[in-house]
Structures are given as structure tokens and as C-alpha cells.
Amino acid sequence: MSFGDQTLELARVDLALERRLGESFRIIAPFALVALAMFPMALGLRITLVSEIGTAVFWALGILFGMQVALRRSSTDDRERRDLHALLGVDPAARFAGRVLAGSLLTTAFLVVLFVAMVLLYGPRLPLAAAPAIALSIVMVAVGLSELGTLAGEIAWGLRDRTALASLIVAPLAIPLLVAGSQTFEAIAAGAGILPWVLLMLTTDLALAVAGVAMARPLEEATR
């Protein structure tokens, strides 16, 4: 079976499991929305300030909770399933790619929900014409986050403190995504070019994809 078919099948099963477990949209997304609502409450009545910090709060919460989506329970598997996949001849790189694909779709959906809520709650200054650029940055950050989450989830696989440890590993490494995402929005609001920030996101995504493929076999062995 080809690399692409394996990737699609593994992503399909990850998504099917998430539909049944529902962690991303039943637990993580509501939690993120609560956090989103907490900032204006903490700020009190300083309405203009709220519209100024909207995009920044969106990206900070988007990275922190998007990371939890990437590390959700349905993105991890037990030893038996690992053995099963290995003995069905699944390419370790396809395992990585499939997990990243499923994670990217879920994280994108999550970020879109969070973005819409942020626009409603904060009323930031973002022109409608910038919608494609906003969508592009959300997708690229989602891909990078789920690549990082997949790598860190594998590195911390089967350990007692998996979720907390993987979060600690992902958070500092996600800084380029945070900077690029928030600066894209800043640039849009200021009417400046977004090309450097798009390039930065592209570089991060590509570098992580290379790392994921190059490390796929050592990572599989690491979880013996």
C-alpha cells in the first residue's frame, strides 16, 4: 500500500476516534472560550483596549489550546496498536504524516471557532478583505502546531506525565508560529505586507516536516 494511502487511512481513523471521543470540541474548545472571555472581564470596562488586544489574545490562547488539541487522547495509541501497525507494514513516516493531517484539520477547525468567538467578543480592527490572509495564517499555524504536537507526543509517549511534559516541550518551540501568526494580523491591521511572516510559517512547517520524516524511524524505535 502506498505512502499516501497509508497516511489517509491513519488520518481517517484518528478523526473517526475523535468524533467518538469528542475531546477537542467538547472539552478543549469550551475551555479556550472561557479563557477568551476572562481577559475582558479582568480588564474591566476599558473597551478600546479590548479591541486592541483581541488578536494577541487569540494567538496566545490559540497556541496554548491548539497544542492541547494536537496532544488530544485520540492522537496517542497503546503498545498493541503500535505493534499492529508496525506489523501491517505501516511506514513510520506515514504514521507521522497521518497524525499530522488529522491534527491539522482539527486544529484548524478549533482555531476558526476561537477566531470567530474572538471577533465577536473583542471587535478587533481587521478588514474583511484580509480574510484569505487570515485563513492562510490560521492553516499554516495549525499545521505547524500539529507537527510539533505529534513529535512531542511521540517523544513523551507512554510516560506518566505525557500531556504536561509534551506541552512543556511544544510551547517554547511554537514561538516562531506565535510570532508569525500575531505579526501577520498586525501587518494586516497596519496595511503592511505579510510576506515575511508567511515565509516564516512556511519555513517552520517545512523544517518540522523534515524533522518528523527524518526522525520517524528512531521515534518508532524509541517507543518499544
Binding site: 513529535l151 517554547p172 523544517a207 524533522a211 526522525m215
Partner: protein, 236 residues
């Protein structure tokens, strides 16, 4: 422990010389005595970068050769690197408070990159602490060590599209922007700190090796299950 003891002794001597030079060299006109902090600040951060580079090198060598000593090198270097990063950040903040008028500035790429690097390697050490099996630990942390080093230049780039508050380096290919006495003092300190780094890494590696063989001996002893003595069950 002999090799490490000798190295630590030599390093201590070098640090003493460095300290004496640092305190006797003239201070900067504008900054006053606070300029002497660079004798700790610059060598610490130079070593932090060196240490994390060595960690990445050890990680990649482990993935290639699978020799335990590469894992010990990566671990020892990361621990010492985190220590030096902390010293470098702390001294930088003291200096910044006095000279810039602020201890920290988030718009600055160098400060941000250094902070991120500090957190990345705290995560690396946390990962090591969470795994008991030496081979699994070596393998997983080697992967993280190799991947994290790719991200450091990206973080640097991501914040480097701004201009900086932090000065550029004072030592350049076309000469130095520092007076000679100050430069000599700083270079001596750089050498002394590098020696200290080597000594600490070697000592840490020796300790790790001793710990591992002790753990192995412990694991070898008493691993057998004896058949139960069923006739005696009633007496328990």
C-alpha cells in the same frame, strides 16, 4: 574522578586570574563599574550556545553510533548549559536595569531567543527526568536534542526582523570596539569559563557513568522469583 578533579582545579585557577583581571581592568566611561559584569555575562552566554550546540552534536552522534557516552555528553552539556544560561540572563538583567533602565525588553530578539532556549532545554531536562529506562531515555532525548536545535535559529529569525536594543558584538573580524585592557580581561574570562564548562561536563559525565553502573548492578541482583513453598502456606 581524577580527570575531573584536575580539570576543576585548573578551571578554578583560571577563574581566579580572570576575576582579578576583571576587577583591575579599567571600567567603561559611561557605565562605570557595571561594565565589569560583561566579564561574566558574555562568557556565560557564549558557553550556553556552545553547550547547546554540544548537546545537539551528542544527540546526533548517539542516534548514529548508539554509544552511551554520547548520551551522557548531551545530558551533561545541557545541564551545564541551562546553568550558564541562567547566570547569563541574571547578569544581563542586572546590567540592563542599571544601564538600559530596564531589566527585560520583549521587543529584543536576543533576549527573547535566549529565554526561549532556556525553556527548551528545561523541557529537555524534564523529559530526561521522566524516563527511567536508560536506552529509551537516550533515544527520546536524542531526538528532542536534534530537533530542538533546528528550532533555535528559527526562533532567532522570527524575532530578528526587528531592530534591537541589545548591542551587536564588540569583537569583530576587523578588530575590536573595546579598549585593549578590557578586551584582554574578557578574553581571559572567556577562556577560564570554557575551561570551567569542560570541567563541569567531564565531572557530570563521570557521575552519570557511576550512577548507571550502580543502577545496573542493583538491577542484576535479586531479579529471580523463587517457587512458592505451598506446604508452608498454613504457617503464614
Amino acid at each position: 574522578m581524577k580527570r575531573a578533579t584536575v580539570l576543576v582545579g585548573v578551571a578554578a585557577l583560571a577563574i581566579a586570574v580572570g576575576l582579578w583581571l576583571a576587577l583591575t581592568a579599567p571600567a567603561d566611561a559611561l557605565q562605570g563599574a557595571f561594565s565589569r559584569i560583561i566579564n561574566i555575562h558574555v562568557p556565560s552566554l557564549w558557553l550556553a550556545f556552545l553547550a547547546f550546540g554540544v548537546t545537539a552534536f551528542g544527540s546526533i552522534m548517539w542516534l548514529w553510533k548508539k554509544r552511551p557516552r554520547w548520551d551522557r555528553l548531551a545530558m551533561a552539556s545541557a545541564e551545564v548549559g541551562v546553568l550558564f544560561t541562567a547566570i547569563g540572563i541574571a547578569t544581563g538583567m542586572i546590567w540592563g536595569q542599571r544601564v538600559w533602565g530596564t531589566a527585560w525588553d520583549w521587543g529584543d530578539p536576543r533576549l527573547a531567543t535566549t529565554a526561549v532556549m532556556f525553556f527548551v532545554y528545561l523541557g529537555y531536562l524534564a523529559l530526561r527526568g521522566a524516563i527511567d529506562d536508560p536506552v529509551v531515555r537516550a533515544r527520546r532525548s536524542a531526538i528532542l536534542g536534534a530537533v530542538a536545535v533546528v528550532q533555535v535559529p528559527l526562533v532567532y529569525f522570527s524575532v530578528n526582523m526587528f531592530r534591537t536594543l541589545h548591542q551587536t558584538q564588540s569583537i569583530r573580524p576587523d578588530g575590536s570596539t573595546m579598549p585593549r585592557e578590557m578586551l584582554v580581561a574578557m578574553l581571559v574570562n572567556l577562556a577560564a569559563f570554557t575551561l570551567l564548562y569542560v570541567a563541569l561536563v567531564v565531572a557530570r559525565m563521570e557521575v552519570a557513568e557511576a550512577e548507571e553502573s550502580a543502577a545496573e548492578r542493583e538491577a542484576m541482583a535479586g531479579a529471580e522469583v523463587k517457587p512458592p513453598r505451598l506446604s508452608e502456606v498454613g504457617d503464614v
